[in-house]
Symmetry: C5
């Protein structure tokens, strides 16, 4: 039985954790979920660390919505650096699911983006834990989360090494 | 009995620690407070570490007021990175309460913002220590500290995963 | 027998790992290859760490394609910092092969750049493991990967220390 | 008997260490001073670490003068991050006294600023070691080093928590 | 007998290591030199670490030439941060000798700058190892490497603490 941690915030304007949990439940079994909510994204790294240490999680999904101001961008940088440190200390993945508030023009679109990105990264998390080979199958395929996939590059580049 | 640390600076132009302590006292009992004042925000991380190690704090509230110049923004970045490092080493929360001097137009508004943010983050700290489930109840609700809450996103996004 | 790790992403729009593996195979023998694919570049550092720890790799090649937006540049910075941390913890090289999506004007040129840079860095990795002295022979020669070499500086600078 | 370290550079254009040492001597007794001079600010962190480890310093004052160019600002950032790391490893304060060369318009003003900031931070260092309560007395008072104090915020903000 | 490490790159367009080695040889005896060449500046930190661990170096000189593009500036930042980490782990100096490609207008001037900076920093390294007191003698004297010294500040600032 695997344990998946979900860390999220009260600052975000959409309950991405609910989306991620709903998606995970639809993907399969063989795991339990632990959730830890903090005020803002800079509180996420230590929450992830506690999820690894206290709840013995095998992987954590960290969900956040950085605001649009320069100070918010700095906070996102510091939060991401902290998530990196925790991953490297534990040798386990934290899937960072950040949606910047200025990625969408209106609230409805932003909510849909947050829901979709949380779900698609939940699938990535699930595959990292249970079906690692699916990711290698999709290597270099230009996959995106929350937006349409970019897809592999087009053109007559004729590499012998690439699969194109 | 829990121990809450309060780290603050002589650089700040408002005694946010007094606000935080006053608010904590109004919220309940079951904790003692240790205070450590340093010159500026870059001195806060080691102060927090000393509060964890010397005074066995379970959580620290770090209060600071970064100035408006680019060099102050850099100092804030370095201070935040240091606070992150201490949290991750101790697996304990530091609630960073920074009010940038340029967040308000006049001194009176700035003082009210500093007072209010310190109080609202004191409540977050209290909940993290004693009522973790209150934070999960408010996940994705767009809460803010010092300013009015942004609230959850509006619109007809109809996610099955979100609570909207 | 040496072990070379290959970490790559599903975000990239070209299968650089295939190029690197093809090139390594053409250079010689005496090594095995382990591959680990993750969603995006911020997932690469922990993948590299797992390649060192689980698969006992002697060196890892980390392949990624940062997007063109500011948020992508920040991700690249955080990913690179993480790759640095892993190298320093393990005292082993990670050859970072990043091609920024905005380094080329069209998809065909970008694909050729990604293929060529992956191959030329695969050669660097091979030399670091097996023929370290080849790198010292080329010190200060203005070598580039994916673009034509810049070459050593021209001019009548007449240093007694330089080889020019 | 306490030990105070002084780390400084040959890059700076004013002997701030002499100012700091002169000021410390005027403040009291009960300490010895160790000095370590390096070429530039990026060499300061390891100098501080050596002062802690070799000379058993209880606190270090790190003095530097970052130049005005973007590359100098980056160096200052890296130096500050290193000073942070050393403090957190040792759980001891490093008082960073940096005067940016572009903080003053002419050489005379710059020299006075460097002298004054070094002296005022020497007093902070002395208080951190011997009179911690003096800092808490001045919490939120808008103190500055090298420039006139900003002072506490003015206005009718009427907080019950602040002292204003 | 001391050991001095020299780490350099194939990316640089001038053989700064040759300049540094030539200069060191002219300064005295009592040391051996180990050299380690890597592809680019982001590979330097782990090279320095290997020079400390495998070759037991007492100090390392890290030579690099960051390119002129924003991505090169980011690489320089990450490389410098890595060099900082290695120094702090080993409590030993790494003298970073970076010449940015855009510091000079033409190739001849750039080559002379690279030669001169490498030589002047080789002298700093030599003094740090053997004649530490020479650096303290020059504290606050505005020394530069590769360019003319800025010198101490001029003016009637009349500090009692400064030596001016």
């Amino acid at each position: 039985m695997k344990a998946i941690g979900i860390a999220d915030t009260t600052f975000a304007r959409y309950d991405m954790a609910a989306s991620a949990i709903d998606e995970l439940s639809s993907l399969g079994t063989g795991f339990v979920i632990s959730r830890y909510t903090v005020p803002g994204i800079k509180d996420l790294p230590v929450a992830c660390k506690i999820l690894f240490e206290r709840d013995h999680c095998d992987l954590v999904i960290a969900l956040g919505m950085p605001g649009p101001k320069p100070v918010d961008k700095t906070s996102a940088h510091i939060a991401s650096s902290g998530l990196m440190q925790v991953q490297l200390e534990k040798s386990r993945h934290i899937i960072e699911v950040f949606v910047h508030e200025d990625e969408a023009q209106d609230e409805d679109t932003l909510a849909r983006l947050m829901d979709r990105r949380a779900r698609e990264h939940a699938r990535n998390a699930f595959n990292l834990l249970f079906y690692q080979q699916r990711l290698t199958r999709d290597a270099g395929q230009g996959l995106r989360q929350g937006f349409p996939d970019a897809g592999p590059l087009q053109g007559d580049h004729g590499s012998t090494g690439g699969r194109h």
